[in-house]
Symmetry: C2
Subunit: 625 residues, 2 copies
């Protein structure tokens, strides 16, 4: 059965201008600081030099198997940036990197420096571990982004040649291989390439990789035998989501980033093919992730070991892994789930991850990054300028550079607003041009003013997401007149013939909420996490005299939200009274006198933590008895 | 300055007979099942065959660098067992293993199969990683145990030759090396050897290893350079407690087992030399471990990474490492701290670790072992019959086989009772023979009856530990007459001229206590751990219909202790009412209706968990609001 009708097409980032107090400064830092900082790091670590293929045995610093993925993500980020903001210097760097990539490509289209100069005989001999197809996927995404940003098909042609080579190598044909990547990514990239070129082969190859995955006999086990491997592999097939066919998967397992990229690819193929079983698998896996395996910050992948999902409700705070790339992967998946079905929970989760787990990944100055995102720290966890495995920094850069693409979708006769971000979008709704603007202090204030500019009246349904954090007591007015439309799957539907200058005001009260977790989350038992609007808050030692880990919060304590224009570059802090508790011994019977003193606390948005002097942090705060 | 006077000399296990309801059956399982099971595993894994030195390059299963330590710990356990319980079959196995060890020894005294047949050129080239001195220490302990158990000096002579070889290799002399072991153990072993032989060289060598440790320039860094090592080591010197000289160490850091063995060796050398600075360092490190880095079970070493201590109060439950060997190491250290100072907190911690963190390491049937001891489980953590790194099983076996040695100490004119374990001890107090017996249902009941048998009246102080879990409302009677002696540093001092047949009854009420942790232990916030007497309890899924992780315990709920003669081989369970809490969503605002239902809970001693069908477990129980 097929179901392609009713899909929501995302409005491209090139059609969206972000112009607000919150994101615009961050995107500026991303464009002007982070992209150049990252380029320098790619240069310094030898990522770019590697593409000259000059490395010889005995030389230091051999090209690593997945360096192309870092370079490609940076390139994609730079292209997305150039698509909305011209920058001659950045353009120059992009052109250089593209030239290097083109020069590193083999005559047959293959493109991976490591397997060209370091282990030339080992090409595609270990799909389980060697990341070639993962790198290829990122190169393809970069090629599409470059083409869409500039109209120049130089890089697109390079990656098409590589995709064609892969397509000739893998497939159901008699001389083709039945394998699939140990680190998924190429599936979603091939759908992007298909969408950019309308070349059906790429979609078929994406579907082929998905269909092969987890079949019996297991490809990775057979492949290891072929290599003559005698030692047991570090991970079982479930680590690679290759334990059973994808359509039968129900629980998110294994490496969290790989899982997200796989599910995103599944959603993409489902969107293009109308494959109901694939869509249903996505829905099941989404439900498992977001109701059993997600931190309140939108972080996922609780375990350090294998950067992997734990069991349901296994969500430790101090030892949370919650890789930045995994939260980004959740955004990518949510974005694709929205395309398949306009249900607000997808955008709710997207927003939770974006404003918390993802945004925490980069420092305010754009020069330091978190790879791991715990929900509590004793003071030794800090952002780093770079990582040996540098997947997260350029992944953040490309997400931010393409942020405009996550705000809106259109469907026949409908405009969906998923995120409340000030700026404007140039839309085509049923062939008619509409300019749509948002003005808001979101996420610090819940009032959003929408304005419609259109040459002639346009009839469409304006669908505004009612966020999950809103308890329902919102206000909505069209041209100053209050209205209370029905909500459909979490979206307020305003159907009308819109005229030029029509204004809509959405008023979302933003009280401070004490969030509690499902009681099965052992590590959040009897604790609350403070949330206001989409922002999850945390305590930092920098704002406190007493050890923040001794603080207890009364359920009745009034918590005040206050704009603090100077702290952390300007933010809204939460303040109130709390108790600081001390015991005489490490363990003592309940009821033995323990010193309690009343004190004040100040919470700051989680995404802003670790931007001052080093210190402890915690999200989940014990309730006071 | 020297301070040797006033030391407490432990009563040897050979002078103690354990005859009770709790330990005696476990020690029987240890003697009759565990020791033979472990011997078979040593045989099956090639530990014993390795000692024939028949391995050749190309052969499978090369002898591992630390196999001798496993074999030696087993041998020590077997000898301790033979010292109190003859067993011809076990004696035969011991003789065989000793013959193998003697045969594997080089002409120069060196004894390590790996560096004899696998990497013969690498002897003592990597003290940081290669465990040769660690293995040597365990061999020495086995040699002393064998001599003390049997009077036979065969193995003692073997290990003396090895110790002499090491003594000639390491030292301050012009042709000697200044190194020290990456895994401590030989220090405490050399003191044992010194005590058994009165050969001062061994004590000096122990002191030399301690004194060299952490000096600048760092030996491990220099040694790595000598080897021409170019890759960075996995761990910094602090992992090996080699970051600063031992006398200046204040915080327990790095690998927890190594730390315990080091501190134990420091305490031993302090006891023999009266080195006040060394003793003070032990006191500081002890205080740090037991007030900031110890689980309520007596487990230590919170982190999986490096099997290491975390920061102060970093005590996660689900991901606790708490290696069995580390809890054993804490017992070993406590035992030595008692020798230096009769303060009850040492025995309090010894008891906490012994009855909880250590004893959990072995299944009731003696055939399965925990290496890692979390304080919460989602159901997938289970004991294994053996481990690739098999340090814990024989370590448990030797601790249990020598348990009698931890109960009593004597000092001039004084008998100290540290543990309440039924049985009898043959003592010499100021030259007079005394037989001292305990009868008790401890740890399930707090009444202990002591009887003194002596040919003629004997004047001494009987010092009974008043456990930290006792709130002070104890009863004490001599020959039926209540008395209330002063407590000195946690010991009740009964000074009198004791006559044959004198009886003392100590009555320790054992209410169920709800223990709370220092508020800085983030992962125990707003939770209680149930404890009764020395036993820490846990909930197991096997005793509950509802998910135990949803349970909340009211502070007011009455908790009943009930003897359950059938459950888990007979134990005392704790029962009461609790709430099971459910939420509609993974995260929701506090106050949104959540389903609560009243239910019952049953807690079992932590050391007995995972002896039934697999399932979830937790120690820290959230309090109900």
């Amino acid at each position: 059965m097929r179901q392609k009708a009713g899909q929501l097409i995302p409005v491209a980032p090139t059609a969206v201008e972000i112009r607000d107090h919150f994101w615009a400064p961050r995107l500026r830092v991303n464009r002007r600081i982070a992209l150049f900082h990252q380029y320098r790091m790619l240069e310094r670590t030898g990522h770019l030099e590697a593409l000259r293929l000059a490395w010889k045995p005995g030389d230091p610093n051999p090209p690593h198997i997945f360096w192309e993925s870092d370079t490609a993500k940076w390139l994609e980020a730079a292209c997305l940036s150039l698509a909305t903001h011209t920058d001659a210097k950045l353009q120059g760097l992009v052109d250089q990197v593209i030239a290097l990539l083109a020069g590193a490509q083999g005559k047959d289209g293959y493109l991976n420096a490591h397997f060209t100069v370091v282990e030339p005989g080992k090409r595609f001999t270990n799909l389980r571990d060697n990341h070639e197809l993962y790198c290829a996927g990122h190169l393809i995404e970069a090629g599409v982004a470059h083409f869409q940003a500039t109209g120049d098909s130089t890089l697109l042609n390079v990656v098409r040649r590589y995709a064609d080579y892969i397509d000739s190598t893998f497939g159901p044909g008699p001389d083709q291989r039945r394998g699939y990547p140990g680190h998924e990514e190429i599936e979603l990239a091939l759908v992007k390439l298909y969408r950019a070129t309308r070349e059906a082969r790429y979609l078929h190859l994406a579907k082929f990789f998905l269909d092969q995955r987890g079949q019996t006999p297991n490809f990775f086990i057979a492949e290891a035998k072929t290599r003559g491997e005698t030692t047991a592999p570090s991970f079982a097939p479930a680590y690679y989501q290759a334990h059973i066919p994808v359509r039968r998967q129900k629980e998110a397992v294994g490496h969290a980033v790989r899982a997200m990229y796989l599910y995103a690819g599944m959603a993409d193929v489902a969107a293009e093919t109308g494959d109901v079983a694939l869509h249903a698998a996505c829905q099941r896996l989404w439900a498992n992730v977001t109701t059993c395996k997600m931190y309140v910050t939108g972080g996922i992948g609780a375990r350090h070991e294998g950067e992997a999902f734990g069991e349901n409700y296994e969500l430790p705070n101090l030892t949370a892994y919650a890789e930045t790339c995994a939260a980004i992967g959740l955004v990518l998946l949510a974005h694709r789930m929205i395309r398949l079905e306009p249900i607000s929970q997808y955008a709710d989760v997207l927003e939770r991850a974006l404003y918390n787990g993802v945004l925490a990944g980069v420092s305010c100055d754009g020069r330091e990054y978190f790879y791991v995102n715990p929900l509590a720290s004793l003071g030794r966890h800090h952002r780093q300028p770079w990582y040996g495995c540098a997947c997260c920094p350029p992944n953040l850069a490309r997400l931010l550079a393409g942020l405009g693409g996550y705000i809106y979708s259109v469907a026949p006769g409908a405009l969906y607003v998923h995120l409340f971000i000030g700026g404007s979008a140039r839309l085509e709704l049923d062939g008619q041009r509409v300019q749509f603007t948002q003005e808001t202090r979101y996420p610090y204030a819940g009032t959003v003013d929408f304005t419609i500019r259109t040459a002639r009246p346009a009839h469409f349904v304006l669908c505004l997401r009612l966020p999950d954090w809103c308890r329902g007591d919102y206000g909505l007015a069209i041209n100053g007149r209050q209205t209370r439309p029905a909500a459909h799957q979490g979206y307020l539907h305003l159907e009308r013939t819109w005229s030029d200058g029509d204004q809509v005001r959405l008023d979302l009260p933003m009280p401070v909420e004490r969030m509690v977790a499902d009681p099965r989350v052992a590590d959040a038992a009897n604790c609350v996490a403070l949330q206001r609007g989409p922002l999850v808050y945390c305590l930092e030692q920098a704002d406190h005299d007493v050890d923040i880990h001794t603080l207890r919060l009364s359920d009745r304590a009034k918590i005040r939200a206050r704009t603090d224009a100077r702290r952390l570059g300007g933010t809204v802090v939460l303040e109130g009274s709390a108790y600081s508790q001390r015991h005489a011994a490490l363990y003592a019977p309940l009821g033995r006198p323990s010193k309690v003193r009343s004190t004040h606390f100040r919470a700051v948005p989680y995404h802003l933590w670790d931007n001052r002097q080093p210190g402890a942090m915690r999200v989940w705060l014990p309730r006071a008895f």
